[in-house]
């Protein structure tokens, strides 16, 4: 019984940590791909982006770095 419980506990630890790592990686990948604030790349064609009224200033950095433009005026208070 003692040996059985140890194996189960070991499996529990490994399964918990590996599942957690997979979940965190999945969250990271989705964040990078969807990239709602354009921090990693320019907008993907065909994808709809929601420009939140309360968080407009957080888009500025991403727009500056990734959008194609000739001239840009950015304002933040």
């Amino acid at each position: 019984m003692e040996r059985e419980r140890k194996i189960v506990a070991k499996k529990f630890v490994r399964l918990t940590f590996s599942s957690c790592v997979v979940l965190l990686l999945a969250i990271a990948v989705v964040t990078i791909v969807v990239d709602p604030f354009f921090h990693f790349h320019k907008p993907i064609q065909g994808m709809h982006y929601y420009l939140d009224d309360d968080n407009e200033r957080y888009f500025n950095d991403g727009i500056l770095r990734h959008f194609d433009y000739d001239t840009i005026i950015q304002v933040a208070q």
Partner: protein, 502 residues
């Protein structure tokens, strides 16, 4: 350093565990290779010293991470108490015990109560007295009480003729062990020190339990307590603007916040202890399921209740010297409990009211036992909710205003600022995108969902202690992984634990 932070979960904890078990493994392997040429006593002593040094240094690093000067006070306190305990062991004179207790109480008074006392004296006698405002060192109430308990236990042992051979390293580990130093549980000498000399080979059973318990505690704090906390902060900053619906909801939110925050911390402490192969006592046992205030204090902050019972209530005579003295002793214990939480009249009154209620329950025990269980539960839960208002309010005046608004029972719609506190990053977008304008028609639905889930967990579910006795399953492992990942991505901003204030 907070348990609910990236640096703790992803860096400090893995490193300190690796070093701790690395040291243990080194001494176990070395003894196997040498085929017992090193005597077991020498091996154990060397292994122990290294392990204890590892625990102490990681604990001091943890403690000093944000404010290094707190560590100086801690070190002075540890040295002072160890010297007192050494003197007690040498001569068994009560003088050294009294000196030790006086030193601890003076330290606590200086940092916690001096300013409050001086300002009240100023109002009372009209004198122009000032006392510099001193920042309360983190965990001082907890580690001071723990050391007071240690001194009394050592004195009792020496009076009974028992040998006390706690080394300085063992004592320092006992006081500074980082999972419990800052906000409890208040551990006793008898339950911690005998665990230290054991050989701490890595044990998957202990480690798995520790992880499971730690994750449950972390989730309680990050996913629940902090959400309710946003609503509570709004409520107590806008007492006059609330209607009675808001006040009742904020009252419930605080009831849930303080439980999830403190029990979450305690669970994390127990879980971390198990990861180091050390058993710490449980501090909570489903307190909101209690059917009396007396029962509540056997389930809430169990180690503080135990401390007050062992070192205050029983030495005063307990319940052995007639009803009058029993009520007096209960009054002293609960007023002390109240003011232990902080230097304010709200805490004093909170403790006093609890004392009166406990005395009344004792006096009318037979009558109350005849009532249906649900009615006893309801009156207890309602009383606790109202008392938490007093506990949380900055002043007596605000507490009174809050209670008055709560009991107004006008039942208007909840304020937008209140229900929008529950528009968390995880659920807000999903909620507003429900088709049919659902969020516009029922904007408070997310708030009531959180309240319902919170109440279901505290009243309907098994607590962490009960869950930790169940066997490991794949489903539980996946659930723990989800909670851990969810908690880690929720580590935004700084959200210290409520009991750090005490």
């Amino acid at each position: 350093m907070l348990f609910n932070s990236y640096i703790f979960v992803l860096l400090f904890l893995p490193v300190s565990l690796s070093v701790f078990y690395g040291i243990s493994k080194k001494y176990i392997d070395r003894s196997i290779i040498k085929n017992c040429k090193v005597s077991s006593d020498n091996r154990t002593q060397s292994s122990n010293k290294s392990k204890l040094l590892c625990l102490i240094s990681s604990s001091l690093f943890f403690y000093s991470f944000q404010k290094p000067w707190y560590t100086l006070i801690l070190i002075v306190s540890v040295l002072f108490n160890y010297i007192c305990s050494w003197l007690i062991c040498k001569s068994t004179k009560r003088l050294w015990l009294v000196l030790g207790l006086a030193g601890n109480i003076l330290l606590l008074f200086l940092f916690k109560y001096a300013s409050f006392t001086v300002s009240n004296l100023q109002h009372l006698v009209g004198a122009d007295l000032t006392f510099p405002s001193i920042v309360l060192p983190l965990g001082i109430s907890f580690y001071t009480f723990q050391q007071i308990g240690y001194l009394i236990d050592v004195y009792r042992c020496t009076v009974n003729g028992e040998l006390v051979e706690d080394s300085f390293l063992e004592y320092a580990s006992f006081v500074t062990f980082f999972p419990q130093m800052v906000a409890g549980p208040i551990v006793s000498r008898a339950e911690f020190l005998p665990q230290l000399p054991k050989s701490h080979r890595f044990d998957y059973e202990y480690f798995a339990r520790g992880i499971e318990i730690f994750i449950f505690g972390l989730a309680k704090k990050v996913l629940l307590a902090d959400v309710f906390g946003t609503a509570v902060d709004w409520g107590f900053s806008n007492i006059e603007k609330m209607n009675s619906t808001d006040a009742i909801i904020v009252m419930l939110c605080y009831t849930l916040q303080i439980y999830f925050d403190f029990s979450g911390y305690s669970d994390m402490a127990v879980g971390l202890g198990k990861m180091f192969h050390l058993d710490l006592p449980w501090n909570f046992d489903s307190p909101y399921k209690s059917r009396s205030i007396t029962e509540f204090w056997r389930r809430w902050h169990i180690t503080l209740g135990r401390f007050l019972r062992e070192y205050v209530y029983i030495p005063l005579g307990g319940s052995r010297k007639g009803n009058g003295k029993t009520y007096r002793n209960l009054l002293i214990v609960f007023v002390l409990c109240g003011i232990w939480h902080g230097a304010a009249w709200t805490f004093f009154l909170w403790g006093l009211i609890i004392a009166i209620l406990v005395c009344l329950e004792k006096a009318y025990d037979k009558v109350l036992n005849r009532l249906p269980g649900w009615l006893n539960w309801f009156r207890t839960f309602l009383t606790l909710n109202l008392l938490w208002i007093l506990f949380r309010s900055p002043t007596l005046g605000e507490a009174w205003t809050f209670c008055r608004i709560t009991l107004n029972l006008s039942f208007l719609k909840p304020s937008p600022k209140l229900y929008s506190s529950f528009y968390t990053a995880e659920f807000y977008k999903m909620f507003i995108n429900i088709p049919g304008g659902f969020a516009d028609r029922f904007p408070w639905l997310l708030m009531f969902t959180y309240l319902a889930v919170g109440l279901w967990i505290v009243l309907g579910c098994k607590n962490t202690k009960a869950k930790s006795e169940q066997p490991f399953t794949v489903r539980r492992s996946i659930w723990c992984a989800i909670l851990l990942a969810w908690s880690i991505v929720s580590f935004t901003g700084v959200s210290p634990f409520l009991y750090f204030n005490f």
